[in-house]
Subunit: 320 residues, 6 copies
Amino acid sequence: MRQKFYWQDKPEGCNEAVWRYEANPILKMNHSPKIARLFNSATLVTDDKIVGIFRGDMPDCTPALFYGESKDGINWDIDDSGIKIFEKDGTPFIYEYAYDPRLTKIDDDYYIIFCADVVGPSLYIVRTKDFKYYEKLANGFLPYNRNGVLFPRKFDDKYLFLSRPSDTGHTPCGDIYISESRDLEYWGNHKLLMTAPYKKSYWQRLKIGAGPIPIETDDCWILIYHGVNSTCNGLVYSMGVALLDKDDPSKVLARGRRYLMTPETDYECMGFVPNVVFPCSALCDDEGHITIYYGSADTTLSIAFTTVNELKKFARENND
Amino acid sequence: MRQKFYWQDKPEGCNEAVWRYEANPILKMNHSPKIARLFNSATLVTDDKIVGIFRGDMPDCTPALFYGESKDGINWDIDDSGIKIFEKDGTPFIYEYAYDPRLTKIDDDYYIIFCADVVGPSLYIVRTKDFKYYEKLANGFLPYNRNGVLFPRKFDDKYLFLSRPSDTGHTPCGDIYISESRDLEYWGNHKLLMTAPYKKSYWQRLKIGAGPIPIETDDCWILIYHGVNSTCNGLVYSMGVALLDKDDPSKVLARGRRYLMTPETDYECMGFVPNVVFPCSALCDDEGHITIYYGSADTTLSIAFTTVNELKKFARENND
Amino acid sequence: MRQKFYWQDKPEGCNEAVWRYEANPILKMNHSPKIARLFNSATLVTDDKIVGIFRGDMPDCTPALFYGESKDGINWDIDDSGIKIFEKDGTPFIYEYAYDPRLTKIDDDYYIIFCADVVGPSLYIVRTKDFKYYEKLANGFLPYNRNGVLFPRKFDDKYLFLSRPSDTGHTPCGDIYISESRDLEYWGNHKLLMTAPYKKSYWQRLKIGAGPIPIETDDCWILIYHGVNSTCNGLVYSMGVALLDKDDPSKVLARGRRYLMTPETDYECMGFVPNVVFPCSALCDDEGHITIYYGSADTTLSIAFTTVNELKKFARENND
Amino acid sequence: MRQKFYWQDKPEGCNEAVWRYEANPILKMNHSPKIARLFNSATLVTDDKIVGIFRGDMPDCTPALFYGESKDGINWDIDDSGIKIFEKDGTPFIYEYAYDPRLTKIDDDYYIIFCADVVGPSLYIVRTKDFKYYEKLANGFLPYNRNGVLFPRKFDDKYLFLSRPSDTGHTPCGDIYISESRDLEYWGNHKLLMTAPYKKSYWQRLKIGAGPIPIETDDCWILIYHGVNSTCNGLVYSMGVALLDKDDPSKVLARGRRYLMTPETDYECMGFVPNVVFPCSALCDDEGHITIYYGSADTTLSIAFTTVNELKKFARENND
Amino acid sequence: MRQKFYWQDKPEGCNEAVWRYEANPILKMNHSPKIARLFNSATLVTDDKIVGIFRGDMPDCTPALFYGESKDGINWDIDDSGIKIFEKDGTPFIYEYAYDPRLTKIDDDYYIIFCADVVGPSLYIVRTKDFKYYEKLANGFLPYNRNGVLFPRKFDDKYLFLSRPSDTGHTPCGDIYISESRDLEYWGNHKLLMTAPYKKSYWQRLKIGAGPIPIETDDCWILIYHGVNSTCNGLVYSMGVALLDKDDPSKVLARGRRYLMTPETDYECMGFVPNVVFPCSALCDDEGHITIYYGSADTTLSIAFTTVNELKKFARENND
Amino acid sequence: MRQKFYWQDKPEGCNEAVWRYEANPILKMNHSPKIARLFNSATLVTDDKIVGIFRGDMPDCTPALFYGESKDGINWDIDDSGIKIFEKDGTPFIYEYAYDPRLTKIDDDYYIIFCADVVGPSLYIVRTKDFKYYEKLANGFLPYNRNGVLFPRKFDDKYLFLSRPSDTGHTPCGDIYISESRDLEYWGNHKLLMTAPYKKSYWQRLKIGAGPIPIETDDCWILIYHGVNSTCNGLVYSMGVALLDKDDPSKVLARGRRYLMTPETDYECMGFVPNVVFPCSALCDDEGHITIYYGSADTTLSIAFTTVNELKKFARENND
């Protein structure tokens, strides 16, 4: 029997496709003396628990990756010593900082995808079987790239991967590409999946990036992603959704012109980077209940609830 | 008898010339499924009601214009289908998005002035008799221009218009100009009215723009406007006031060196664009009561109260 | 009999539509102690001579306008005292500096159009009957605008005008608009004529601006204009040509995808602003001989030759 | 007996080296009709009271300096007429605006150091004996410089001074230098003390600046300073601490890699410049109790508490 | 017997490792009516002739690729119709523009590597057997990337490739990476080869990019590359040299701190992009004679001469 | 008897106050294998020869300082090993690079002032008696500062110094300040001498910097300086002149609104940094003959001639 995670019914009178947890944020500032802010986080249900890889910014503001476990997806036991990553030859993987992880499982292995700064922001894939030993695969992607997301299964004999190539800094641009590989290390046949300026959809005008590992359903993949708008007072990060073809995810079936969620609450509008909701993972059970984990204002970790049907309906109805 | 609108007496102990409504904002986020944020709004008293043209940003973040009605100026019935505008030949007026309306009446016609992006931000004038059919006049202004305000009567045989020509983007500069026309379509004799850097008045150092339709009084016009300051964390929009000559509004009689109102409250300092108060209309009755409608943080609609005498006194006392 | 101007036959073996004068530049640096550089210049054939309005940058680098006369269009007698301009009420027109003139005649009056910096770069129209008294018309155009060009006759009862609205500085963008007026002072019905990014025509990718007064032919108007490309080492100004409808010049009949002339010679590639050819006038006689006057490197004045037929053929053959 | 100032014990369960006053901010917006915001402030304990020099931004947003007195350091009586400064020849010192004061006493004189804009931001030293007559010393520092801090005693026959030379605007860079003088007017032997990019300490990556007058202890000087990080939504100002050699403060003994305090509360994260904590003074008694005064969001004045031992321990433990 | 190409002995008194052809440039502006400027060019010796793939900018300034043949490497017969490229399924490869080719042969196939703008500048590999039919391989590299160079043989079963990932525009940064593939379509194991800021070597401070196909010698590979410096008047492109390990070219054996050649002559310092020398190919015979082809000022094609021994000596002597 | 230096009479028909040497440049590119470009140079007449400190950019583009000697000021014997500078304690002075020297003699010592990059561009003063041992004085100036010029005698007991504080990079701004010292190490009483935007004098609009050591005459000091204008294709450096009060050089008696010399020739308009004339020294004999040494295009060293009377007359006649 699968592990259960926390989920709430849609509140009375709510017309939105996604609804916030009333006790947000679930992880607040100063989680421990070693971690000042925990926010963009990758969670996954296993047989006996829920595991997570967390971006934690330390009190010197260095971003790093941490491992945690939970019984319900809300109360977390986080190891604040930070995960250690090794090259395939057993030497430590050396980097400036690491952030914005995603987490999935293929066959018997867990894969963490994250961005690290070695020579500019780049994407790396790390394999683990036990969340104790973490092995980095050979560099499959050139800098500069962010928001890497691996599909949770092969398509024939190929892995698929989403990423957002762009530049070295606070990236003023960026589209989502889809890439193929037979071995997770040599990648090619890259294609443009979705562009940032999209119709008159201003919330996703500046740049976009894939969010959680896509959710497979009976007739399509659900891709939750973030889109960014630029105002005279900085960037606003919102959350959106698209549907991809079940057999060939390089085909976009539907893409929501509206945002799913935009910063509205105090904990999203105020903090280290105001006006940010940044989804990195989503739990989904057999009945289609979905709990989305998203960073709020680059300061705290929050969750929101939805269902497979809500997201499909939203993407299709807003696909004009 | 003229329609009454909501107004509150000055609170005990208040030393300011303008005081906020205690139940602000009057229109909150997610007003309807089709409108995410209603903020910069143009209201006008008619014989039997108060009408308004609203900037509403839709859930894809496209700004558009909406029509609404109210009995008291606080509770609004807004048609969320959006107004449709036609060229003089009956074809639809095609534009990317529209925002920041102003509204006035001359003779038997209502005029809406707003900014739309066709080939860069430009000002357009629309005429309606019934708020059902909206006809756009020929393009009277070149891009790039914003914050257009039409005086509510002719001066001899000429219409007068305020605008802020500038550039294509988030406008790092801008002064207010005054222009003339005999037919609302061909404009000329443009003159500089007020400049943005003004003495040591840093709140209006970067740029300024006319706000509500000017209010005619027995001895002058009251011009409420916005001024913008630049900090290392973005722009701050405040509200100020100037007095213009009754017969020749191209003459500035007095201009407040101090701001009338600057962002102070949660709903002004936090939101889609933090630190913005942006006035677009003001209702005034025969006794000189004034209710100002202003966008707060580009997220909600708020109001504040004052009187003709307060504004005149403020502008004259701060005219040093 | 009309005044003749200097013109040369096309050299043997030349395949270009325009050919340079072999003794370019015709006006060199340090023309007089009061004028350091004479370059962007507006010439016109009158009954008994050729007249010119010249941009001259003085030894403090201030641009100003000067008047000159010539018998052949090559040897010029220039009055280095600078022209003085008056408002309609007889008071002097006060401005920071003035540059890039165009010159035409309608009925009995000569009109000079130029850019001056009063409150940012703006276009002004000046009328003279005798090149002694210069009267400025009321401001017909808002800032920020450059490269204003007046058609040399009315269309029914309307004047037509080309301009390039843009911004305050070294203008990183700009398209050509066409405007109408009944009186040269009140302008309206502005329409976009030609955009800067044009197909895969990179020499005119960044911005464009009308050059000489358009040349009327039996079946169209010839518009010579400049286009600008941006390289990592600055801007490159080239010259191009378009054909406009004879009765309604807001219709573009043909537009050359290729440039007519691009900086190639020492005097075009080296100087105060390298890599600039900037046409401001063109003389044309009854037999279709054309002499184009263009500023070279913002340092000297050069000329090039062509014919009506060459330009028409070039525009049409390159209109793909 | 020395004047007592307000101080609070460390709350139960607090693990931080510095703890906020629970009733922050101690000075709120609109302190008086003449002062809109009081924030970056320099306080000092004298025999019979606590005195302060305050940055107050007036309702036209001009920053200026004000004098105030207090019995407890929390409740302040502030003279809102602004201090007047004179050159040594008795003429008024003319400047655009003044801000960010520091205050110390050497021998019988009080010294105020502040930044003023005369020809770009520059540091000035003012001497007063009575907080009634303020005399400016000869210009000892060239523009462009900010955050000047004078040590409260001589070292042999020399004064020592910290400053942050940089540029004209919102300073995208800056390190702390230490300088010497025999007479407070002629300065030299400048040395680099601490740089802004510091190990993997991102909160102080962009620029740093000395805060309060350094606190002398039995074995070192405690230097509280601010560090700045840049996000896609603007700058974040945090507070840090370093220990300097008691006899030769140009030697850094320890420097905290972690921040002491970063914006977390509403009054720090929201306001005229969000996400700013900016310390300008610290009171310290014989028992090592310390009250830090810091500007919060460039909008209000707040305080926080610590001790000499806490700061020393923090700097040394985080000196890796 | 191998085809001979033009080469000149080192002039008397010359102390440089590389010497220019005295009759430079070999291809001047306006080569044909269809090609305005031919400059960055890839040449290769075949059995019976010398072939070349040329970047030609057309008179609308669109860069494109052209094929040419020569008997001596100086006099070229260029087909100005432009090469046509096909996808593997036979459909045409659609792109905005193409530039900066390199050319090599592996086994029986020729490979052209170039940059094209489809969705931002990206690298593409094209295969041809006869310079008549050109087939593009599947996209092996994500945007944004430039200066792709393929090694002319396999290393065990792997191809090696140099590239410079960077950004969308005039690239203000860039290092050289080395990548591996088994099939020329799926690439991975990317490693940083050389960085742009290199010691106190300011001519290669801003960015670098591989130039000609590396030259294999008895004990190493010779890599000629370009380095870029930034001045207040734009970029300066110079030429440098490094030596790579014969068996594992990811190891740099020596790298010249000095430039090999920097813009000095008229045809290098003046033109469409002044101050550019940009090498794209080098012919080398069995005796070690080398003729380097380099674009001069993005306007003309020039050559320079050297030898294998000169380059090795230069790289080693300047490797401090 | 004093050493003679090369000087030429004013050519026939020349109306300028300064005339170029007909055989310019006197030092060309590639002066020696160790020095690629010699340009901004400081010369001084001694009893038996003319000495010079030269900025030489090496073939890796690092700027450094070199010593040279000459009999006539035109033919130079330059030691290409570079000068070595020591701290007062005998340890070597460590810096990234050094450039733009000035040279003067006070009493028995020679002083070199130059800019070096240690922690950003800063000014340093070096003393030598014999051009063999160079001793750096204590740091008298904070970064960021350039174009330091020391007056060649004391005023009462004080040294005077000109400098241009600005910022870290290619300085988009800058005015000249004058500072005082009693010991050349502790500096103060800084005053603004001349600002960059100066009337309508556009050639010196962006920034200015002192050039040669000021020349003392019977009634004033002659200050030759450079001024910079910004065009869309980069900066243009011209040369100007001002007259300072003989007893109190902080008083400007006259300042030329026109430039003295602007880039006109091939060797000034073309090179590493096009359009630069940059004077760093001027020799003057008892009869008032003056030879100015100036860097041309940051590539070569050129000279120009004038007289004391020409410069005085020019400054006074253009002081309107």
